[in-house]
């Protein structure tokens, strides 16, 4: 600890970023394997099992393969923007992790406007998609980008409103404080008083990341692969990385905002100091893995929505629900409704 505080600030920050990014990128790599394996088992297949023991080296093989592939740039594409798009897609997906707390006090940058910062960064994700679609000079890419952009934009409103509900409940924009406001037991976590908002947030998160059943942007049966149809090799890999990093981010945020983050589900009095049952990073990990699994589960279970159905759900169902529930929660906070907002 003394060694840590003696290091210059910049070195500490860089070490912190590396300590977040490396496990995150590893998790992304193995999330792709988990996806293929889990969906395989759900569909009574065994998934990849050739590379390494039970296919455990598959993500590495995939990465190496993509590395040695040509980055094809289509003729008449806007070359600069074509290469800029994947960078714009990945930078916000990673930078959002700067304000994510992993345990009480364990956060890289403890800013007061944490949630606002995350909402602002997620709203930048749409640029990578629009620019990729337009720069490719391909009809399918442009169609996919437009669909994707309109969908992301629509669900961002529902997501924003759901986040406002969390804010009303917690009274703070700081993610650590939001988790702190949920302390107690599994029954005082926000999923219970904010149940409709939790549902809206999770579904909007799936739609926001363009995942099945909301993946009309990719819609391989109609527009091949959507906005990244012209991308190959590492340029494609970066988009892929961004998509999975975003999924993990949404899973983490769901765990932090609605499921008490690193808090133990049992009342504090029962588990105080008990090994593994007390609050800690491992609880966050368990919750995040669960929501990451939900993403795959949804993909394996539901058929793709139609585009008009997606837009209807976002505008006509989610927005009225969230507006009404924000006011309900507001009243509960003003009147200090126990057990969540007792004096």
């Amino acid at each position: 600890m003394e060694l840590w505080t003696s290091l210059p600030v910049i070195v500490r920050i860089l070490l912190g970023i590396v300590a977040i990014l490396l496990p995150l990128l590893g998790l992304v790599a193995y999330y792709t394997l988990a996806e293929r394996k889990i969906i395989g088992y759900i569909q009574v297949r065994i998934g990849p099992n050739r590379v390494g023991f039970r296919g455990l080296l598959q993500p590495i093989a995939d990465a190496v393969k993509l590395m040695f592939k040509e980055i094809v740039i289509p003729t008449r594409a806007d070359k600069g923007l074509f290469l800029l798009a994947p960078m714009i897609a990945i930078a916000p997906a990673l930078a959002a992790w700067a304000v994510i707390p992993f345990d009480a006090g364990l956060v890289l940058s403890d800013i007061n406007a944490g949630l606002l910062y995350i909402l602002a960064l997620t709203s930048l994700g749409v640029y990578g998609i629009i620019i990729a679609g337009w720069a490719s000079n391909s009809k399918y890419a442009l169609l996919g980008a437009m669909r994707s952009a309109a969908q992301i934009v629509s669900y961002e409103i529902a997501m924003g409103f759901a986040l406002v509900g969390v804010l009303v409940a917690a009274g703070s924009l700081n993610l650590g404080a939001i988790v702190g406001a949920q302390s107690g037991s599994a029954l005082t976590w926000f999923w219970l008083p904010l149940l409709p908002l939790f549902g809206v947030y999770l579904v909007s998160g799936v739609a926001e990341t363009n995942r099945a059943p909301f993946d009309v942007a990719e819609g391989e049966s109609e527009i091949v692969a959507g906005f990244h149809v012209e991308y190959s090799g590492m340029a494609f890999a970066v988009f892929f990385l961004a998509e999975y990093a975003n999924m993990i981010l949404i899973a983490t945020l769901t765990a932090l905002l609605f499921f008490g983050g690193w808090l133990s589900p049992f009342p504090q009095a029962w588990v105080d100091g008990v090994f593994l049952l007390d609050d800690g990073f491992h609880w966050l990990l368990v919750k995040v893995f669960f929501f990451m699994f939900v993403f795959l589960w949804l993909r394996a279970t539901f058929p793709r929505y139609r585009y008009d159905q997606i837009m209807r759900l976002g505008w006509k169902v989610f927005i009225p629900i969230t507006i009404a529930w924000i006011l309900v929660v507001g009243l509960a906070v003003v009147y200090k409704l126990p057990p969540w907002w007792a004096v």
């Binding site: 406007a113 606002l116 909402l119 640029y127 337009w134 924009l173």
Partner: protein, 205 residues
């Protein structure tokens, strides 16, 4: 102080260069993307003067929403550059007049009298736990309640105007109403069984 000043000059330079690119780029999509860059770096400048909430909301609203609309428009409208440039000389006097008027207005607002460290001393660095957003909320919804409700009316007008201007129904396209679709009940709504008498033996030629 040194590092903050360095950051200020970096991002101020980026803002100015990006703003210059916005008006000089031929390709409207590039111009819009430079405008995005200008907004992002001005957001950093706002953060540097401790305006935390406003800085991030600038990114959220302008970059995340307004510029997306701009991009939609310039990407999809096929702006005819030759036609635009043809009118350049003809409209130059009017444009110059408008620009001069704006320059005078800006000068009156942020002229030397109202500018500089004497008029605007640097705000004291806020303590780490000070919440800019909360302070804003406490002021906005009590002291400035009336303008806040006016803002709602302006947004309402914007909604109505946007719909009146752009909504265009297409009676010729056939489409499915998902609201009606999800209300379909099991049974008579979904399938209609028709009882038909069996046909007699058909003679095949």
């Amino acid at each position: 102080m040194g590092f903050e000043k360095f950051l200020f000059y970096c991002f101020a330079a980026i803002t100015v260069v990006a703003a210059g690119m916005v008006v000089t780029r031929r390709n409207p999509v590039h111009a819009v993307l430079y405008l995005v860059l200008a907004f992002v770096s001005s957001a950093v400048l706002w953060l540097l003067i401790e305006a935390e909430f406003l800085g991030i909301v600038l990114v959220l609203v302008y970059v995340g929403a307004v510029m997306v609309l701009f991009l939609f428009v310039v990407m999809m409208l096929d702006v005819d550059l030759a036609a635009l440039r043809a009118g350049f000389v003809r409209f130059l006097p009017i444009g110059g007049l408008v620009a001069a008027a704006m320059a005078v207005q800006i000068f009156l607002v942020v002229g030397p009298a109202n500018f500089g460290l004497e008029a605007f001393p640097k705000p004291p660095a806020a303590p780490a736990e000070y919440s800019n957003t909360e302070a804003l909320g406490l002021a906005l919804y009590t002291e400035h309640l009336y303008p806040f409700e006016i803002a709602a009316v302006i947004l309402l007008v914007a909604i109505v105007a946007a719909i009146r201007l752009t909504l265009r129904r297409r009676p010729d396209t056939k489409y499915i109403d998902p609201s009606a679709q999800v209300q379909v009940k099991k049974g008579p709504d979904r399938v209609r069984l028709v009882k038909m008498p069996a046909e007699g033996k058909v003679e095949t030629p």
